[in-house]
């Protein structure tokens, strides 16, 4: 006596086969489709299972695969019943079936059904393996073949589309899931079948899903979920499509994992916001730079006129220092705008960290926090170099350490670490880090942490100052952002409230060697010798400052207010060097001016002065022969050294 299960959606065959086998003393159960069979098989372990190949909801092939995946059913002998046995013959072993009986007249099928059962009873299953019984008894199959082909075409399409497709029965159990849908859940279709769809998403999502289903059924229309569901760290979008009543009210569900898409959208919005803020900040910075030139530049000239013991030296130096600090903030804004022309060089982050830790700024930070903040470092001694601005990167380190210290009002530890890193597949975190070689600098604290809603905004200018109550200018983190993006790097942040914060900066590696620092030069080393200089600047104060400084340095200086005037001047007069402002709206810019000047004076020496310039225009002018770039506001050192270097080139 064997325990037998027959699965077929044709009632007449089910009745016949079960009556036939019961007459022989076997225990027979029946199921009208694959899902009913799976329900039964949760508690029953038949010896033999007859399975119709073509059934609605769950095909015989799929049912075989599922049965073979269930440990308690491994020993079952699977017999396919097929009206298209010839076409299916090569495939039955592939989905786990043992043998096949062609469907046809009962008087022929009877012989084969009984033969198979007898062989299994005798333990001679091996003689049945891979065989097809009753091929000669089958009627004309042309249309069956077409149906099979159409069915396989449909199955192939559903198996390969990128969107997930599921079908739910009227009780919201999963009766079908294509591979894309199964991938959303990280499970196989076999594991999803017969699961309660709502239970899969968890109790917190059930109200939204039930409402969606009700709306689909009531309206008879496709309904989309209002906003993506949060499920196991993913964001899931779905829509429900009611199918007509003749099919027992199933619901089709189109389902997509939009986690990555939403993250990229957030990153893009963040980047666009930063760009907009940066552009605004940069515009302000340009005007401020010009104004600051007087505050920064004139004190040098006044100090040169004062005796060493003059009581005015101290206040004038204080004015100059204030001006320099303001200029530093302007540079922060320019960094934020990412349109400041920063000096790019090969730098080693370990050296920057070392220098920062010996700097007055770090000493001041430690003093401010009354020694409650301890700092240690874990620097990779074989750290590779990066190509960037030492000034910007030092500022970034400084701002990160400052923020880390602020996060630990009652004291704590900060750790600065560096390491080389190769990313071989994109890392999706706060930023998406592409594959490549990176130097990673991390600053970690044991402070109060940052909430999720704040993390998205901490790089916005003034957010940390106003919203999070941090001290400073409020531009610190924005500067970090700008500095990293200028170096084409990425930022990653790990933080949670009460659990501290780690900020990691990923900077692309440079294989070049570092350039050594320039030795400090004394003014005597860059004095002029009466060379003629033409200063071209549309701002009167800038012309005056530059002219006064250059005259102090021993040059003969003339000035013109525009590029056009400079060209006209050059046609009439030879000069040793031109100091070119880049932006001179509404007239031609510095690059265009230089281009016209060298047409009449080939090889004309020039230096470019700018506080806010289009980097590409500066490069273009340098490619034409212009020399180095001087960052405004002018100081005696920077303008003097640049002109001296260019004249001697």
């Amino acid at each position: 006596m064997k325990n037998i299960l027959i699965v077929d959606n044709h009632a007449v065959l089910l009745k016949y086969a079960s009556a036939l086998l019961e007459k022989k003393g076997h225990r027979v159960r029946t199921a009208a489709d694959g899902l009913e069979a799976l329900d039964l098989l949760q508690t029953v372990s038949p010896d033999i299972i007859f399975i119709d190949l073509i059934m609605p909801n769950l095909s015989g092939e799929k049912l075989c695969e599922i049965i073979r995946s269930r440990p308690h059913l491994q020993g079952a002998f699977l017999v396919i019943l097929s009206a298209a046995a010839i076409e299916d013959a090569p495939r039955i072993a592939g989905y786990g079936a043992d043998t096949c009986i062609a469907k046809g007249p009962f008087n022929k099928m009877r012989r084969h059904i009984l033969h198979v059962v007898e062989q299994v009873e005798r333990g001679c299953e091996h003689e049945l393996l891979g065989r097809i019984f009753g091929m000669d008894d089958m009627p004309g199959r042309n249309i069956t073949r077409e149906l099979l082909a159409a069915k396989r075409h449909r199955e192939t399409t559903l198996a390969n589309i990128s969107e997930g497709l599921m079908e739910l029965d009227r009780d919201s159990r999963v009766v079908y899931a294509n591979p894309a849908a199964a991938a959303v859940f990280g499970r196989s279709e076999a594991e999803l079948l017969l699961q309660d769809f709502f239970a899969v998403f968890g109790a917190e999502n059930t109200p939204a899903l039930e409402q969606l289903k009700k709306k689909a059924v009531d309206t008879g229309r496709v309904v989309n979920i209002d906003s993506p569901l949060a499920w196991e760290g993913k964001r899931i979008e779905l829509k429900m499509i009611p199918v007509d009543a003749a099919h027992h009210h199933p619901i089709l569900v189109v389902i997509s994992d939009v986690t990555r898409q939403k993250m990229l959208e957030a990153q893009l919005q963040r980047a666009q916001k930063m760009e907009a803020l940066g552009t605004l900040a940069g515009g302000v910075a340009h005007d401020l730079n010009n104004i600051l030139s007087g505050i920064v530049g004139y004190p040098d000239l006044i100090l040169m006129q004062l005796p060493d013991d003059s009581p005015l030296r101290k206040p004038i130096k204080a004015i100059q220092e204030s001006g320099k600090k303001a200029a530093a903030i302007v540079q922060d804004l320019l960094t934020l705008a990412r349109r400041g022309v920063a000096t790019r060089e090969v730098v080693n982050l370990n050296r920057l960290v070392d220098q920062y830790l010996k700097s007055p700024e770090f000493q001041a930070l430690c003093a401010y926090h009354h020694g409650r903040v301890a700092l240690d470092t874990d620097l990779d001694r074989r750290l590779l170099n990066v190509n960037g601005s030492a000034v910007q990167l030092t500022k970034a380190v400084m701002n990160l350490v400052s923020n880390a210290a602020e996060a630990m009002a009652d004291g704590g530890r900060i750790r600065i670490a560096t390491r080389n890193c190769y990313i071989d597949k994109p890392v999706n975190g706060y930023d998406s880090v592409r594959e490549g070689e990176y130097v990673v600098l991390s600053v970690a604290d044991t402070g109060i942490g940052i909430s999720k809603q704040d993390i998205d905004k901490i790089f916005e200018p003034f957010y940390t100052k106003k919203v999070m109550g941090r001290s400073g200018t409020g531009l610190g983190m924005a500067v970090v952002w700008g500095a990293v993006k200028d170096q084409k790097g990425y930022i990653d942040i790990e933080s949670a409230v009460g659990e501290g914060t780690t900020v990691r900066l990923y900077l692309p590696v440079s294989r070049a060697k570092t350039t050594s620092e320039e030795a400090r030069v004394r003014m005597q080393d860059y004095m002029g010798n009466g060379e003629s200089i033409l200063v071209v600047d549309d701002v009167k104060e800038q012309r005056e400052i530059a002219s006064t400084m250059l005259a102090t340095l021993g040059y003969n200086v003339d000035t013109v207010p525009s590029g056009e005037a400079a060209v006209a001047y050059a046609r009439r007069n030879a000069v040793d060097l031109v100091v070119l402002d880049m932006i001179m709206d509404p007239g031609i810019n510095g690059r265009e001016t230089y281009e016209k000047i060298i047409a009449v004076r080939p090889g004309q020496k020039a230096v470019i002065a700018s506080g806010f310039s289009e980097t590409e225009e500066v490069k273009a002018a340098q490619q034409m022969g212009a020399g180095c770039y001087i960052k405004k506001p002018y100081t005696l050192d920077n303008i003097g050294m640049a002109i001296n270097r260019e004249l001697r080139r």
Binding site: H10, V12, L20, F106, P139, L147
Partner: protein, 107 residues
């Protein structure tokens, strides 16, 4: 239909054969109604799908007249000759009525 011969052929007793035939008539009637609905909705592929299913059961019981009709129904539906399909469906229904009498079932 000779139930004695059928019983001997398929290995069930006569009463069981009668039950099988009854089941065939009942399920086939249900499917014929579905074909008529599909024809009314001018849905030839649906009609063909059901006719295909009718074919299988007819083959199982050796009901050649029903089998021939089901084959024609499927073929005409697939080639969109729905008026012919409708005529064949009516004939199939008549054949079921005859079988119902044989099986002593009221339809």
């Amino acid at each position: 239909m000779n139930f004695q011969t059928l019983s001997k052929d398929i290995g069930l007793d006569e009463e069981e054969c009668r039950e099988l035939l009854t089941l065939f008539v009942e399920t086939s009637l249900h499917e014929i109604h579905a074909v008529e609905t599909a024809l009314g909705a001018a849905d030839p592929s649906k009609a063909a799908e059901i006719a295909h299913s009718l074919k299988g059961a007819a083959v199982n019981l050796g009901l050649e007249e029903c089998l021939d009709l089901a084959v024609e129904m499927e073929a005409t539906a697939r080639s969109n000759r729905l008026s012919e399909t409708a005529l064949l469906t009516a004939e199939f229904k008549k054949a079921l009525e005859t079988l119902a009498i044989l099986a002593r079932v009221d339809i």
